[in-house]
């Protein structure tokens, strides 16, 4: 079958690949482009581990066909740090011990980033709602919620 060209921006860098039609964005990112920060958990859109940001919106890369992403700007967790300095969310996750096995962490950070981009100082309920599509087996969620609230507080300090 003929390959399909796909072109998008990944973490600010132009990417172009020829893929099989029907390839998921998750597969394209991990196995074609080599960005393994989105994780393949359930491959059916319920665990959230594969979450990425496409044009500012949270998306499940396991349910997104790569060929539908032409011309978009995609952000993954591996693109968040700048010049070796961790993103405030990454720093907050570390400081709060909000990760154990780490498998859910990139998806959690993506979900939290979209929340904070739209709602810089969310309530606890808003954090819980934003994370409710992401499953964690280790932490009991509380450290993750605290990490997002901490990152939000540092947001409000920047703004002030």
């Amino acid at each position: 079958m003929a390959k399909v060209p796909v072109q998008f921006t990944l973490n600010g860098t132009e990417k172009a690949e020829f893929i099989d039609s029907g390839t998921t964005l998750l597969h394209a990112l991990r196995d074609k482009i080599g960005d393994t920060s989105p994780k393949g958990g359930c491959h059916q859109g319920t665990c959230g581990a594969c979450s990425v940001i496409i044009d500012g919106e949270l998306r499940l890369s396991c349910l997104t066909l790569a060929e539908t992403c032409n011309g978009t700007a995609i952000t993954t967790t591996s693109g968040l740090s700048e010049g070796g300095v961790l993103h405030p969310l990454q720093r907050a996750f570390l400081d709060a011990f909000a990760t154990q096995c780490g498998f859910c962490t990139p998806g959690m950070i993506m979900a939290a980033k979209v929340l904070l981009d739209h709602t810089p100082t969310p309530s606890r309920d808003e954090v819980v709602e934003a994370l409710s599509g992401n499953i964690c087996r280790c932490t009991g969620y509380e450290p993750i919620i605290q990490a997002v609230l901490t990152a939000a507080r540092s947001n409000s300090q920047h703004a002030a």
Binding site: C42, C47, F97, I135, T139, E142
Partner: protein, 334 residues
């Protein structure tokens, strides 16, 4: 029909590790040419922090900063034998093996340093920062970096050690059946408060207050992390999780993890964690196993709280709304 509140308490006594034919773990430690230390294990870090704790234990024993230690848990084909990371045994069993291996490596390190400094090895001590000093004369010293270089390129020594920890198999006494399945026990107690809707059978967990006695907490933040997650998992075991809701009948069993119910971020109980540190006699630097044990006491506490709330004893897990309603119905006068 009403929402009824109940409180339950439970305490547990949890053996660290298992004993089904003996419970061994082995470890190897060696230095690199530049005085870093490599710990080789087959024990797996699956997120519980095995690598960090083994690095701390090795560093403490040899006398170097933790960041000078690399832990390789890569491969059960090539690493020394370990029974596995389960039953809260990793820190206790592998930790003791790492101490023994690190002590042997430290002895060789001190012998090489003694040759370089022309003193007796027994007169040397480490400063924990990567240097070896003469006791009482700290101006006479050598860095572990230089000792490792000397061992590798001048003296032809291997700064290395072998470690082994074995809980031997315990056979039951023929007369009484008594045996000693473990040498080290952790303890925990949980008080849980729940609300039970006696119309729907739904249980809402309000508070879970836990006290854990886990020996010495070698890394207090990681212990806390483990206990917070474990307490949540205990609630999950008690009220949510099963692959076989009508065992042995397979009907309605989940077919993948998406149908395996657990509490989400919106279902969290107010949780309190208190850690009691009573160092164990045979644990590495006094540690016990805080892993699997920490998800246990919530389960009987929850069953007791449900009993306190609505007066029915549920003795099959998980305690689902259906089981509560069936028990209430069986109990009701006709």
């Amino acid at each position: 029909m009403a929402i009824r509140r109940g409180r339950g308490v439970a305490a547990i006594n949890y053996p660290t590790g298992m004993n089904l034919g003996g419970d061994p773990t082995q470890a190897l430690v060696h230095s690199t040419p530049t005085g870093n230390f490599m710990v080789t294990l087959s024990s797996v870090d699956l997120g519980q922090g095995m690598k960090q704790i083994m690095a701390q234990i090795c560093a403490e024993t040899i006398g170097v900063p933790t960041d000078r230690v690399v832990v390789d848990t890569a491969d059960t084909d090539t690493g020394p034998h370990c029974m596995g990371t389960f039953a809260s045994r990793g820190t206790h069993r592998a930790g003791n093996a790492v101490i023994q291996a690190a002590r042997e490596a430290r002895q060789v390190m001190l012998e090489v340093a003694a040759e370089e400094l022309e003193v007796n090895a027994s007169d040397l001590e480490t400063d924990g920062q990567g240097n070896i000093l003469v006791k009482g004369a700290p101006q006479k010293s050598i860095s572990i970096f230089d000792v490792a270089l000397s061992a590798h390129f001048k003296r032809g020594r291997s700064i290395s050690g072998r470690g082994m920890f074995l809980i031997p198999r315990s056979y039951p006494e023929k007369e009484t059946g008594a045996m000693k399945p473990s040498t080290c026990y952790a303890h925990a107690c949980t008080v849980a408060e729940v609300e039970v809707d006696d119309e729907t059978g739904e249980v809402t967990v309000l508070t879970v207050r836990n006290v854990f006695e886990i020996g010495r907490a070698l890394n207090p933040k990681m212990v806390e992390q483990q206990l917070v997650g474990g307490s949540w998992m205990g609630i999950s075991h008690a009220l949510y999780e099963t692959t076989e809701p009508y065992y042995p009948n397979r009907d309605h069993g989940g077919t993948d993890f998406n149908q395996y119910l657990m509490p989400g971020p919106g279902d969290l109980a107010q949780t309190e964690i208190i850690v009691l540190e009573r160092p164990s006699a045979d644990g590495p630097y006094g540690a016990k196993g805080p892993g699997e044990m920490c998800a246990n006491p919530q389960i009987p506490a929850m069953a007791n709280a449900v009993f306190d709330a609505v007066g029915v004893r549920i003795d099959t897990l998980p305690i689902t709304p259906e089981r509560i309603l069936r028990a209430l119905k069986a109990q009701a006068p006709n």
